[in-house]
Symmetry: D2
Subunit: 111 residues, 4 copies
Amino acid sequence: MTTISGPAGTPDPAPGAAPHGYADHKSDHLARLHKIEGQVRGVTRMVDDDRYCIDVLTQISAVTRALQEVALGLLDDHVRHCVTDAARSDPAAGEAKLGELALALRRTLRL
Amino acid sequence: MTTISGPAGTPDPAPGAAPHGYADHKSDHLARLHKIEGQVRGVTRMVDDDRYCIDVLTQISAVTRALQEVALGLLDDHVRHCVTDAARSDPAAGEAKLGELALALRRTLRL
Amino acid sequence: MTTISGPAGTPDPAPGAAPHGYADHKSDHLARLHKIEGQVRGVTRMVDDDRYCIDVLTQISAVTRALQEVALGLLDDHVRHCVTDAARSDPAAGEAKLGELALALRRTLRL
Amino acid sequence: MTTISGPAGTPDPAPGAAPHGYADHKSDHLARLHKIEGQVRGVTRMVDDDRYCIDVLTQISAVTRALQEVALGLLDDHVRHCVTDAARSDPAAGEAKLGELALALRRTLRL
């Protein structure tokens, strides 16, 4: 959602625009997620190999943190594009995006 | 943490026993981790397919929670076996396990 | 972050407006915070009275959750007002707010 | 709960012993909690004074972290004393403590 016009209630993204706000960071997010897939496979292998619990826990903490970093990046992209664009273009659309964002933050904070 | 002999002859794990406390739940942990691997691949696919940020975030929250469930299970197994066994057998070994556990909890709580 | 004038003459907050985005929910936030103060005093009293660790921990979890609820409310207010207003009025101001928000989210998620 | 005897089902804490495991760190926990009370009052004052949202959020993160540090300390004390002592003295009591601990960890991790 990148083609915004003005604050005066202009039509939303151009048809064909990516329906999300992370277009600019898509390859970063994918690279992180591929790394996380490998990390999870590594944790599975550790358990399969009967590795020491504490070492498995250390690795799980690292994966959890890496996932939360991706979530943070997506939240940032989302506010930066979807929420801001919607707010610029149309109060009702902005309101809807803000409600969605609050729910996503709630889930990310595990509340 | 398993082949220790207690001060009062507490029964010890058989020699050759797995060097960790999650032997009883190993297949549960592996099943959860395989599911998590699939979930992470699903998140990657969502980003690759330009799915809406909020939906990706919802899925990341689910994966994070699933990982923390595995961490909780491992912590429980660890206290139940490694820490308790060490404490029963030898104060110094118990102390070492407790120090390790505190660090693992700290990382799991992200402090 | 309120007395900025947009490039396209977007309506700006009245001069003298509160310099924050939570004006509408200020009394809610204060009520929650007063309750949290009481809860923390309650935890202190529990420890002072040698209450059982697990019961103290349950109460600390409740306080932590209540604090995170206030943080969530403030984040929501902040995006809803400060970030959106800044983005509407001036790209550079919007950018600055977004950078600040990302840092605040990072701290709130403890990354 | 500090006066344990042996692994052979010995009588639990002496009558009159504090019914919790944090006796050794009670004054530390109280000092931290008093500081946290002051921090929460500080957050209330910030909101009352219409301080900038991001600054309030930064302070809330600090309080949350301080509370989680107290939780971590209590968990450590609890495993170190209550769980270990119970496990040493009586399998059924140990089992009960371990179940309680798993629930407390679950709440602390917000699962």
